[in-house]
Symmetry: none
DNA sequence: CGATAAACGAGACGGTACGTCGAGTCTTTGG
DNA sequence: CCAAAGACTCGACGTACCGTCTCGTTTATCG
């Protein structure tokens, strides 16, 4: 009870990988079965055959567990294609984003629930952004920047706003319409819309 | 199983309006102070000087209380302006939406937290949509439809997609970037973008 | 979560007597089955069909529960007999003490475990003394004081020491020899010994 | 069930004496600082700079560690004096017991806590009795037996009861009154009482 | 105007999960 | 090749809210 000489952080070297996998898999499974909200650390531990202590040793919260599980499950943000055709490339990337993020069918409810959770957990929000959101957005930004130089889109295009125009509707649907993913056709339409707005020859 | 004597619903006539006001006000206050997540029915009851029973008598959950509080606090979705200038009207409407919804400074965290909560509560999702989201979206849709007939925007414009383009980015920011509201300038830019994509003469 | 306006103590009026009884009974039952040590608040709550909160609302610890259970179970310290025969009265009282305290066969292990627990819980020690130990000792002290005036025992007898001589051996056996109660014969012998030491005519 | 390969007991030869000392010392230190109850194997290991495994290799429980520490710390039960004066000898022995057992100021809380612990650990009870209690009691019994033969005390004296009369009050105070040791004067008084009861000439 | 039934405040209740702690076991690693 | 370091499972801790459920006590119709 006495002597807390320094609560050293755990040593990642000695980590039990089997437990880690069981925890992440179980977390996604439970999210898929009941939705993110009702999932509890207690239940994850129980089904994964792991003690709660082990979960809390490596993650600060349920959200952090699910985030890592999602990161594991997501197809890594592939290299952004650059075929010269900005429209085709954007479509490819956004399709890749959606199909990649949601490759694992268990991901859907987990992701939206997780985003919901970030409203009361700034740390989680930051991590989610850094691990899942930004890397993928960055690719699109890079490609758009190149298009701007190449003349594929107008020279004064606002890249941040463009990204918001592209991703906003997608997340909007996810969160406000319960995970109703955009179809490929809709994505094409979405990209067309945005590109039309960005067309180089529309001088206003 | 002598079918229990029908637990009659409470009589709205006898409702104590003072309690109702105290509850709604307290709910918003607490959301503003601590964020939506940490607020509990228990705390609302305590600070409002009301018994938990009274809350549960009239609302099924914390979310429902906050939703009603938001609806009360929001400037009612005013009549949509129709000056003939579709751009100006859209800007007006979106500004009105944002400034109206967020007129009360306590609304911000409450609203995003509430949206988050809908991920695990379909009923709440439906009510939120009906009470706050749809009425305002409907106005924009109506105005866009008129513009489509008038030739203000292209005849084959996809209204649903247009609405997603307009609102998507706004909610995207709210939820994924912690309530960073769009400025008036950004709203104008946003509307410009969308209208440019919908411009009647852009034949592509 | 906020606003802890004053953690008022619970209102004894509204106490659920059925829960109280179930808790006290279960506590003694479990002590009898497994011994005091292994009994947990969790187990008491579970078997009594009661929530842990209810236990912690009314008692600060397992020990306090068991103490109250013992107090309930013990035959109240009956009026001390005063037949004029100090020897007979002391025997009666000590017999009464032992048979009364241990009337309920579940008491044994509970009591010794409880005494053990007092080593790390001063509050519990105080309460145990006040509720169970002192009242019974006080009777003996009173009777001895009278005997001292009456000449039944020597005038300079040290009552405190006499009490220690009487009760010390009893508790000594209980604690160091695992609840091996003194038989009636042994009690008589014990009283005889002490009285012989206190005999009025032994002038040293 | 291929009968597991015999988990050979550790080889006492290879035992690290420095660890042993550190463990025993730390155990007493911690008992002195916080009392026996709150001390944990975890804390002993941490402060002694030793792994928990090392403790569990050589002792079955915290109690066993403390018992050995006490045995180490106690002045060995010296040879019982036999000056011919039974009163003086008993006083000497009981003083020796108390001052010897409690020579190390850290012993007090450790011992009472340990006795408390024996209530739920029969093995520990046995070991405590064999290592600390009985050896010292045996000396007194031997001396009393001699006195019985010599006529120092009555021929029909019950030695077991006499021992209980002598030691009972001491342990009674230790356990029920929080380590309030008897003073030398009180010990003399105690021995006098008992001897008066045992006096050979008291005819009753 | 007084009876009476409802909503009300207060708050105890059975639950479920929280996040922490220590027990005792098992594994990895370095001297 | 031992023993330190320490991660592991297990189970209990004491707390917080949940949503339900009495309790008296207002309060506000209606007979």
């Amino acid at each position: 009870m006495p002597d807390q000489p320094a609560p050293r952080p755990p040593d990642p070297q000695r980590r039990n990988q089997k437990s880690r996998r069981a925890i992440l898999d179980t977390a996604l499974d439970l999210c898929a079965e009941h939705g993110y909200g009702p999932v509890t650390v207690e239940a994850i531990a129980a089904r994964a055959g792991v003690s709660k202590k082990t979960i809390y040793r490596w993650w600060p919260s349920k959200g952090a567990v699910v985030l890592e599980a999602l990161d594991d499950a997501a197809t890594p943000a592939a290299d952004f294609p650059d075929t010269g055709d900005i429209r085709a490339d954007l479509v490819t990337q956004m399709e890749g984003l959606l199909r990649g993020l949601f490759a694992d069918p268990r991901v859907g409810r987990a992701l939206t629930g997780l985003i919901a959770d970030t409203q009361h957990a700034p740390d989680l929000a930051r991590d989610l952004d850094q691990m899942l959101i930004q890397p993928r957005a960055e690719q699109a930004r890079t490609r758009l920047a190149k298009a701007r130089t190449d003349g594929g889109i107008r020279a004064d295009a606002d890249l941040d706003l463009s990204l918001e125009l592209l991703y906003g509707p997608v997340y909007y649907r996810l969160l406000l319409h319960q995970g109703d993913l955009h179809s490929s056709a809709e994505i094409r339409e979405l990209v067309d819309h945005v590109l039309r707005a960005l067309a180089p020859h529309a001088p206003e």
